[in-house]
Subunit: 321 residues, 2 copies
């Protein structure tokens, strides 16, 4: 629904910089400086889930969106919508998580707003974070820049976030050791941009998983993307739970992952840099940009068959972030 | 509740620039540029009310918050939280209002996000807007700068917004000709800053009305503020409805008003500039900063008595913006 809403209703109301690029944030000129500006509302359900809560999610999500623009995130805002009577102890824990996540990402939470809504007017707590960062000179990150021959990298296991949240969903609770991958990626990406001069694409595969994000890139670049199933890091338990729930991990949300697309000659350097960070220890080259099947994502399975990975048609897991 | 939440829970989690000034936005350094950055979530109920809707409210609210920092608003983000099944026609009208309000204020809506929540998870539509603007060189706007002898100006009638919304509240509907004063003030304020070199304070008296805002200023400046009741512009119908509902217009929300505090020698110049704009046609000098009663707001009534205008202890009208 969100995708359709955007194209039919929101896009006509928004200005050019946003129209031209389907991006995680807008790149703006501000008195001669290039800034990245991004916003995201968080409605995750449940609010607390294994390994995190809505608070660190809200910080890391916006930090990462800005990092995906090739910018160094600096300042964040936070807007809270609270249900009347929401336990103050829970709220304190959420704010504490935000503080820690901000400190860890080295961003400052500088302005905020709170609205309290009567019971039933909202489901617990929603948080909007917006952020601004300075775009690095010379970088030109865009999904359009995926070029034939480029290598697709990811910084670790997919689908952990979606599965962690699902295991705590009402009516579905079950025990598992899976925790969210929620993390800020700006330091790793900063190091990557220091080392690899010409990074082509950076995108975080959140809602809709790597399937949605790679489809968007394939469409924007008008190129095909081939994925190698056996190169995609995936936890055994996540694989088992996904299978049990009838979900495909390629479509499940991540919160601390980035898809990096670079020239083949830069791939090793990029991979080694990413692996030197905790959040990139299990980085892997998972695919390649090809001429064939322009606009499509093709998975080469571990048993040697090939299948199209379609754009998800609806939201598989609502309220996952 | 919001005030307490802020002090007890949010403030300890936020960074210095936000802590130091109780402001509508944060003033930031961004590669040598001074930027204003502000965020606001809108949960107004009903979503459509006489003279406006949540859409223009969300644009003008953030435009004004940035203007209050002595900055020229440039770019806005919009984050939508929608209830599943919310009528698309209504949503289109809201987005159209946002587009028009943005065009009118000459700001660009550059980045956005939409989350859809299941029925009952949210009450219709909530919108968060964040914005950035360039702070004008040499301006130093702060509630602390209200100085003894300064004059307090307002750009027109108070309490229209709150009353307009109330007349459409479920269970309370009644006919009236009162419409919201919702408007962007950045052009008028820009002209004011062009003409008056040293504007001391700019604040928009939204939630809690001019009573709450003037109390905040009196506290920040550690000075008294005397108000002259017969100088405060107030529509007869608004006065009658407020009286009927047992509400004090001083405490009722405005959406297109600004309290301007300047040196006495600048007051006429400021007033004339404000009056040259539609949104300031009924501007009036309504009070004065005094040494006595530091931290307090005193109203001299039209019948010559004096009373303390306290800080509102709770939210008189929830979901007014």
């Amino acid at each position: 629904m969100s995708q359709d809403l955007f194209q039919e209703i929101f896009q006509p109301g928004f200005s050019n910089p946003f129209l031209d690029e389907v991006h995680d944030g807008a790149i703006l000129d501000m008195g001669g400086q290039k800034l990245a500006f991004s916003t995201d509302s968080f409605v995750v359900n449940p609010i607390f889930f294994p390994g995190g809560n809505i608070g660190d999610l809200a910080i890391n999500g916006t930090v990462n969106d800005i990092a995906m623009c090739g910018a160094d995130p600096k300042y964040l805002s936070a807007g809270f919508i609270l249900e009347e009577g929401y336990p103050l102890e829970s709220l304190k824990t959420i704010v504490e998580s935000m503080k820690n996540a901000a400190a860890n990402a080295e961003v400052a939470l500088v302005t905020g707003d709170t609205k309290v809504v009567e019971k039933g007017g909202v489901d617990g707590v929603f948080i909007n974070t917006s952020g601004i960062g300075l775009v690095r000179q010379g970088v030109e990150i865009s999904p359009k820049r995926a070029e034939v021959g480029d290598i697709v990298l990811i910084n670790g296991r997919i689908a952990d976030h979606g599965i962690a949240v699902m295991t705590k969903r009402q009516g579905l609770e079950f025990e598992s050791a899976v925790i969210t991958d929620c993390a800020s990626l700006n330091k790793m990406i900063g190091a990557l941009l220091d080392v690899v001069e010409d990074v082509h694409v950076l995108r975080d595969p959140t809602r809709g998983g790597i399937a949605a994000t790679l489809n968007e890139i394939a469409t924007a670049a008008n190129a095909g993307i081939e994925l190698f199933e056996d190169q995609i890091p995936l936890d055994d338990q996540v694989k088992a739970i996904s299978s049990l729930l009838g979900l495909d991990p390629l479509y499940i949300a991540n919160e601390g992952k980035v898809l990096v697309i670079v020239k083949e000659t830069d791939a090793d350097k990029a991979l080694n840099t990413m692996k030197s960070f905790d959040e990139g220890r299990e980085s892997s080259a998972i695919g390649r940009v090809v001429e064939k099947n322009a606009g499509k994502v093709i998975l080469e399975t571990s048993i040697g068959t090939r299948r199209i990975v379609d754009m998800p048609s609806g939201e598989q897991l609502p309220r996952i972030c």
